[in-house]
């Protein structure tokens, strides 16, 4: 199966463009959140991180879901593109998770007083992070490309099936623990300006996901083309 290096370059360029556009959109979101969106009465400034957190968690979710779907398609159709996509989606998903998991505590400590809260979204993101890491650790431990693709596809599908159960567990777990004295960011009441910022943020993050995946896929393709050239 021949890998086209030209296509790889096209994808890389396209990926960069989309990513930059997304980052621009994100800058807009942050500005909106800071200056132009009303502060929630009860929670104050702490609530604003929600505009970043909720969409990034959504992207991590998206990444796992798409990795799972690509895995199914790979096992069914055997096309290497799906394996490449699954691996790329997992990589990007891991980045999103890492971002959420580091910005959360860093932002939160001065405002909330604790480094970590077992807030549902954060917990879910943590689990997705472990799943995606495990997937990549497995991939790194298998040398033969066809075997790596096949076995990681199986794990990808299992991870996708697990997500709803993690969701259930996280909410069940939260039900046992009373809300801490210092409040965590949660969904604001549907103030139209808050909703606007939130929706723009979702769009920006999804665009970022698309950009990063396109870019990473292109890079992966370029690497494979190079290896093939040397073979």
């Amino acid at each position: 199966m021949n890998v086209d290096p030209i296509r790889a370059q096209i994808l890389i360029r396209r990926g960069w463009r989309i990513t930059l556009a997304a980052l621009l959109a994100l800058a807009v979101v942050v500005t909106l959140a800071q200056r132009f969106t009303p502060t929630e009465v009860r929670q104050g400034l702490a609530q604003k991180i929600f505009y970043i957190h909720a969409p990034s968690a959504w992207c991590a979710f998206l990444a796992v879901g798409l990795t799972g779907l690509a895995s199914i398609l790979y096992l069914w159709l055997g096309d290497q593109h799906f394996d490449r996509f699954a691996a790329t989606s997992a990589e990007v998903g891991t980045i999103f998770c890492a971002v959420v998991l580091t910005t959360g505590p860093i932002w939160g400590k001065p405002i909330w007083g604790t480094w970590w809260t077992w807030d549902a979204r954060l917990s879910l993101t943590l689990f997705l992070f472990f799943l995606l890491l495990g997937y990549q650790v497995l991939r790194s431990a298998i040398r033969v490309p066809t075997e790596r693709a096949r076995l990681s596809a199986v794990v990808g599908i299992m991870a996708m099936v697990l997500v709803p159960f993690i969701h259930l567990s996280v909410y069940l777990f939260r039900g046992l623990h009373p809300t801490p004295i210092v409040l965590k960011p949660s969904a604001p009441s549907l103030d139209p300006e808050m909703l606007r910022t939130l929706l723009i943020s979702f769009a920006a993050f999804t665009l970022l996901y698309v950009g990063l995946v396109t870019l990473a896929y292109g890079i992966r393709l370029a690497q494979e083309a190079e290896e093939q050239g040397h073979a």
Partner: protein, 238 residues
Amino acid sequence: MLSADRPALEAVGLERAYGHVRAVSGVHLSLGAGEVLVVLGPNGAGKTTLLRLLAGLIKPSAGEVRIAGQKLRASEPESRRPIGFLSHHSLLYDDLTILENLTFAARLYGLARPEHKAHEALAGFGLADRLRDLPRDLSRGLEQRVAIARALIHDPAVLLLDEPFTGLDTGSAQLLRTLLRERCLGGRAVVLVTHHPDEAWDLATRVGVLRAGQWALLEPRGASLEQFVSRYQELARG
């Protein structure tokens, strides 16, 4: 049981790729009962891959394997029944006695009275007094006899041997050759993969040389081993 008009073992356009590498490509084969094909080739030529494809242990990227006209398929367990496989690994469980090992194999193949069959098979290979031994307590030669007994317990129409002479000294190799010729090969379609032409020359009715996943040579066995060896060395070099 097997239709007389179809070849006992057939490979049609067999291919197996690992990523960009083609381990086996465009291999055809047609073997009748009683024929013994010895397959040679340099390291990495694809001999083991070919054998494992024929055994149904690996799925082909393209092409198919047919046994008496029936397509070999991973999803069809019954299609595997006529196959016997002997490796230089024993396929035995070290924590079970050789009797238990063979009884288990007999059960896997759905044979009636599995323990009796196992007993019979082992006795047939001169192991009646060592039934309670564990595989790790046996010498390599004896262990291999158990492995052969296991491979033949269900009387397979096709027998595949993966470098059976590996690790045997000259004496044991000779014993194995005799054993194979007298007890194992008759009436079956046999493919034997080996490194050295002289190891299985007497057993062969046909010879094949695999190089980079394709047949460099596939013909009935000639009379002279020396002539073949010089041709083989040329092929291996070129």
